[in-house]
């Protein structure tokens, strides 16, 4: 997805030194305010990739507010992550929040149609 698009929010969290980097992009439907499409790219262990993959399934079709409320425990529970891998689900939670923040920062105030920067 093109991260310069106005209806796209991008979140990049983590650090290569810690072994996990997650990039999450959401496309938000203008009319409904719901997430119409999600894409991820992850550098990290299997749990991190699984967490981000599950997250994309989870938030697709959700409204931004609901997506922002996703807790890492939900992801961890679904994937049965062991305690040492809990940080992967936290990273996923951070990623979606960061993506939503990015989307909102692009358009302060009420969403308007077709505004170019």
């Amino acid at each position: 997805m093109n991260k310069a698009d106005m209806d796209v929010g991008t979140g990049l969290v983590g650090a290569p030194a810690c072994g996990d980097v997650m990039k999450l992009q959401i496309r938000v439907d203008e009319a409904t305010g719901k997430i119409s499409d999600v894409k991820f790219k992850t550098f990290g262990c299997g749990s991190a990739i699984a967490s981000s993959s599950y997250l994309t399934e989870l938030v697709r079709g959700m409204s931004l507010d609901d997506a922002g409320k996703i807790k890492n425990t939900e992801i961890a529970k679904e994937l049965c992550l062991p305690p040492v891998k809990l940080h992967c689900s936290m990273l996923a939670e951070d990623a979606i929040k960061s993506a939503i923040k990015d989307y909102k920062s692009k358009r302060p105030g009420a969403p308007t149609l077709g505004v170019t920067a």
Binding site: V13, G14, A17, V21, K41, F43, I49, V84, H87
Partner: protein, 535 residues
Amino acid sequence: MASLPSLSARRLPSTAFQRLGARTLAPRQSVPTTRPYVDGYRGCNLQQRLYSMRSATLTRPALTTNGTGMVVVKRTYVKETKSVSAVEAVVRLEEPRGSVPTIGKPPINLSVDPAAMISPEAGILKQATIMDTGSRPIYLDMQATTPTDPRVLDAMLPYMTGQYGNPHSRTHAYGWETDKAVEIAREHIASLIGADPKEIIFTSGATESNNMSVKGVARFYGAKKKHIITTQTEHKCVLDSCRHLQDEGFEITYLPVQGNGLINLKDLESAFRPDTALVSIMTVNNEIGVIQPMEDIGQMCRSRKVFFHTDAAQAVGKIPVDVNKWNIDLMSISGHKIYGPKGIGACYVRRKPRVRIDPLITGGGQERGLRSGTLPAPLVIGLGEACKIAKDELQYDHEHVSRLSKKLKDGLLAMEHTTLNGDPDRHYPGCVNVSFAYVEGESLLMALKDIALSSGSACTSASLEPSYVLRALGNSDDSAHSSIRFGIGRFTTEREIDYVLDAVKDRVGFLRELSPLWELVQEGIDLNTIEWSQH
């Protein structure tokens, strides 16, 4: 010899029992076996089966009918002449041992499953874990452990069944025969490293040998000498022994290594102190395979009258080792790294000039009082046999491993953004440690689940921390996170290497597509300029 007739004559005894029974001529029907005959480790079962059937049918009871038409079993005794043929059959049972082709050099018939070439037993194990491809994963983790050579198992088996004497028993033949075999094993180990058999102490493995050497020397000479030198890239068991000694009031110098994994001899020279008791530096590193300059270190230690211990678990049997040429005072050897059994190792302790150590395990005073406890004779004999084979085939194995290693290394380094960790020249070829930039090591291990690999030592593979060895080389954390160790050994085949190369290229490509870092790099962004959030 009289034997009772057997109704279960057609039931076949299992291998171990068969051999035990063969040796002692025990009545066959007493063997409780309900399990169908499983394919044994040697692959000559059909022959053996026929032989055992032949001997079993000797005691087949005579079936007659009485007047009412009922079948009765008449008890008979085996005639003298027939028991002779029973002995013959026993002799034939032993025959296939020599005639079986050695499994060390796999046949070129590539239609055979690679695992099955190592041991037909793998055929049974195959049912335990069927991977996507329908066969067992390719084993490329020879630094963690090696498969037991079938020839080693052959040497061990008699001492697990018939010859079970305690090697320390002096009062009967059981003890004597085991003791003799143990002493022969000791000679094999000594001759592999150029030592005297009396200088070999059997232990449970290299970890115990390392503990015994480091703690033993430190505690014995601790009253006067309180300083120990080691390196940052040692195995955990040496580092942890040193940590314990620190708690006891010793001072430890952890030498840094250069970018290629080798120590700087000048660093070592300046680290010596008048009260230095011991220098412990490993010969071949277990993660990156670099070979330290042993001869130079040995000379420096000897001229200063400092004891020199080396952890040679990854070196013995793989590169030529000579304790006298290298001036080594103590050396740790592991059984399962050289195609021997697990749970056995040895420690070389020099006698001239004598090295004295404070034993970790005390008791009956076995092994010159340095390591009490009954020797596990079958394991000891297995280690001896492994050393004998390693000595005989050292050059052949080394050439085989070097050839495969070169192929693997060239193939992997031909990919973009890959680097070899460790010095390329002073390097044991069987250990290839490569960093794949922008791919996380653990995810690559998961993607390559049809290949058994490791991102570092097996002891630390459960932790999330990047390898301390790679960090000691000065690698950044992210490159330490992206490293994979490939271990090549005696039984690795060229076809396996071809498969691994294809698989690695394929999966690394896939994971890079998935990696945000790779994307950023392709866009031309320098990763170091990004401010990463910390977790």
